[in-house]
């Protein structure tokens, strides 16, 4: 174990600092609030010669993802970061990146999608590309942003995986809030991420390959099937990589983080920074003798269905908090959890609460209210409810 090195930094700086230590070959990015400080910090590292990374200050997010695809196909370790409209603009190429099996790591600073235009946090951007074939990790705080950015490189580049990874952090709440972050020494990070072993790089002109062929009904399906398998591999290898990371950092990551779950009868499930708030409320309610707990989701894609089933079976009630809506259907996290619980022997009562759209605060009283509803067994599985909304 290394001696602790604490820095007081924002989530954005934590992402940029991790990128600096990873020192990818190529970073292509375009600024958008609240992701902008990541690009700015990183550009400064480049300008000051602190990294040897080649940075491409592209003219749009579409080109950022396109250039990163080109760089990764060429055999380089390539990274980018964006938010909301930026992700929407790159979304065409987001699908191409995963379908070409390129191990790209992208920081996504979660922000509401337009319209109306709003720069604050929700998860509508991440959910828009939920099915794009990217691994999606969600962070509770800046420490997790730092850690998971480093871990993501290993996951993306694992021989059995070769899929891009998106590391989500809540816009402003994490990206602009200063927190103490324990960082690893440069050489420890370097050693952990190691060298990228490119597979079929374009620059190997002695072994020319064709990327992005036309693939009609005779092969497309099989290729999609391989992507589905790659996601399963990602699920399988994640704990091994997390274990290795634990050895260098002392911090343990998993698909999910159970919080005061041992005897919990009423469980909340959530993504991102609100888990911090929920933990506080859980502590408070526990001190009042209430059997509440939290299941925080770190890995949203591939979805950790076995863990969800294992942790939530036979609880009295489960409430799922979503920071995104799915118009005309159930909220995305709720839908996934509910569907996983269809198969368990003893199903809990379930409730869906959407909160925080466009940066609306999630207050402790909202969390408490949802728990109280659960404890009163006053939940209806197919009724979506809202926290902090003026109705």
């Amino acid at each position: 174990m290394e001696t602790k090195n604490l820095m007081a930094i924002t989530g954005a700086e934590a992402a940029a600092y991790a990128m600096k230590q990873i020192e990818p070959d190529v970073v292509a990015a375009y600024p958008i609030t609240p992701q902008t400080p990541i690009v700015e910090y990183f550009a400064k590292y480049v300008a000051d010669g602190e990294v040897r990374t080649e940075m491409i200050p592209v003219e749009s997010e579409h080109s950022a993802m396109s250039a990163v695809v080109g760089a990764a196909a060429a055999g380089a370790r390539a990274m980018t970061a964006t938010s909301a409209q930026g992700l929407a603009l790159m979304s065409e190429i987001v699908y191409i990146a995963s379908s070409l099996r390129l191990p790209i790591v992208m920081g996504l600073v979660n922000r509401a999608l337009s319209a109306p235009i709003n720069i604050h946090c929700d998860h509508s951007d991440a959910m828009m590309v939920r099915d794009s074939g990217w691994i999606q990790l969600f962070c509770e705080d800046a420490q997790e942003v730092y850690d998971l950015t480093i871990l993501a490189v290993r996951l993306a580049e694992h021989d059995d995986v070769r899929l891009p990874v998106m590391v989500n952090q809540d816009g402003f709440i994490i990206s602009h809030g200063v927190e103490p972050v324990e960082v690893l020494p440069d050489d420890v990070v370097k050693k952990f991420v190691g060298e990228l072993k490119p597979i079929y790089p374009l620059l190997d002109t002695d072994h020319p390959v064709t990327y992005g062929a036309l693939d009609l009904y005779d092969y497309y399906f099989e290729h999609k099937r391989q992507q589905i398998e790659a996601m399963k591999h990602a699920y399988r290898v994640f704990p091994q990589i997390a274990e290795e990371f634990y050895k260098i950092s002392g911090r343990k990551y998993d698909y999910v983080e159970p919080y005061r779950m041992e005897d919990a009868e009423y469980v909340m499930v959530a993504l991102g920074s609100s888990n911090g708030t929920i933990k506080d409320v859980v502590d408070e309610m526990r001190s009042e003798g209430k059997k509440v707990g939290l299941l925080k989701i770190w890995m949203f894609r591939p979805f950790p269905k076995p863990e969800i089933q294992r942790y939530l079976t036979a609880r009295k009630a489960v409430v799922v908090l979503d920071r995104a809506a799915s118009f005309g259907a159930e909220a995305p996290l709720y839908e996934a959890v509910k569907s996983a619980l269809y198969e368990v022997a003893v199903r809990p009562l379930m409730g869906s609460f959407v909160y925080g759209l466009g940066g609306r605060d999630l207050k402790p009283e909202h969390v408490r209210y949802a728990f109280e509803r659960a404890m009163a067994l006053d939940l209806v599985a197919d009724r979506e409810e809202y926290l902090g909304l003026r109705e």
Binding site: E54, A64, G70, L214
Partner: protein, 324 residues
């Protein structure tokens, strides 16, 4: 020493150009000719070509999985982003070279190919961005003046009066009314670029310009008039002839702009009327049946004449005055 046709023929008697046989392009299509000339020049000069291709007719016809007609590294990403994709590839090369992760003795040529749709229209932003950033790449436009992959639609490059499915010549409207967008001027307006027009009908001019473009210290752009025999409705053996006619009628002047300095590279001593170019193709058939056909052709004649005069004036005015 500049390359010659003879030299190229010798080099490629027992060597592949990089684009092998077996692709599914129509017989007579000028796009593969354009691509082959570029690849041959690059290879003959000792470059290792790495190719990016925009979605389009040639892309879909040359890489039908599990086959590929490319024996050089090739990446197709999407329709509008070949310039950005090649930017990434070229940057990766610089990064990996700096880090000592790839052999530094290789002479790479990063070449992007795009159709007119992927260049004049949807891909213009990515192209402009890549030019502005100064990536060492050669962007080659194969200009068949319409969207062929999706079946004969108008593009920003389609000339007035050509019959396309999204701007058809009808009773009320004479097809596309607007002139071709002047892509070379747009490209040349960037700093430190080399931009040129070529056509497979003038191979020596083409070869010289590719050689120059590859050796240019900065981004280079070559626009090749590359007829689509299906859209233009010409015989399969006529695509080369028609491009010669395009040059003789001032429809497609051959010139180059190097850091702002114009040079007209072919100056025919006598010109043919642009009507000859129009009448030689079936895509103007419906236009020619219209009562206002003559007027539209006259306007086109007027335009090509004026543009030619302007080109000569630019040549005179920019002589020895590079922008940097």
């Amino acid at each position: 020493m500049p390359l010659t046709m003879k030299k190229l023929a010798e080099v490629f008697t027992d060597r592949e150009t990089g684009l092998t046989q077996g692709h599914r392009m129509c017989p007579g299509c000028a796009a593969p000719m354009t691509v082959k000339i570029v690849l041959m020049v690059a290879k003959a000069l000792g470059y290792e070509p790495v190719i990016g291709f925009a979605t389009g007719c040639m892309e879909v016809s040359s890489t039908i999985f599990p086959f590929t007609s490319w024996s050089v590294p090739y990446i197709h990403n999407a329709f509008e982003n070949v310039a950005a994709t090649i930017s990434g590839v070229e940057t990766a090369y610089r990064a990996l070279k700096k880090a000592g992760k790839i052999p530094s003795d290789k002479k790479y040529a990063f070449i992007a190919f795009g159709g007119d749709g992927g260049t004049y229209d949807i891909g213009l932003q990515a192209l402009s961005g890549a030019l502005e950033r100064g990536h060492k790449m050669l962007y080659v436009l194969y200009d068949n003046e319409g969207y062929m992959n999706t079946g004969n639609q108008r593009s920003g490059s389609t000339p007035p009066g050509a019959d396309t499915t999204t701007a058809p010549v009808g009773k009320a409207v004479a097809g596309k009314l607007q002139l071709k967008k002047n892509i070379v001027e747009i490209v040349a307006a960037h700093e430190n670029v080399y931009a040129a027009t070529v056509t497979p009908g003038e191979p020596m001019d083409f070869i010289n310009k590719v050689e120059k473009a590859l050796q240019f210290d900065g981004p280079a752009f070559i626009a090749s008039l590359s007829p689509c025999v299906r859209f233009w409705r010409i015989d399969e053996n006529k695509s080369v002839d028609i491009t010669k006619l395009a040059v003789q009628t001032k429809y497609w002047p051959l010139y180059e702009v190097e850091r702002g300095v114009y040079r007209v590279t072919r100056k025919p001593t006598s010109f043919k009327p642009v009507a000859e170019f129009v009448k030689a193709q079936g895509r103007f058939r419906l236009l020619l049946q219209r009562p206002d056909a003559e007027q539209i052709i006259n306007e086109l004649q007027n335009y090509v004449d004026r543009r030619w005069e302007r080109l000569l004036a630019f040549e005179e005015a920019t002589k020895d005055k590079p922008v940097r």
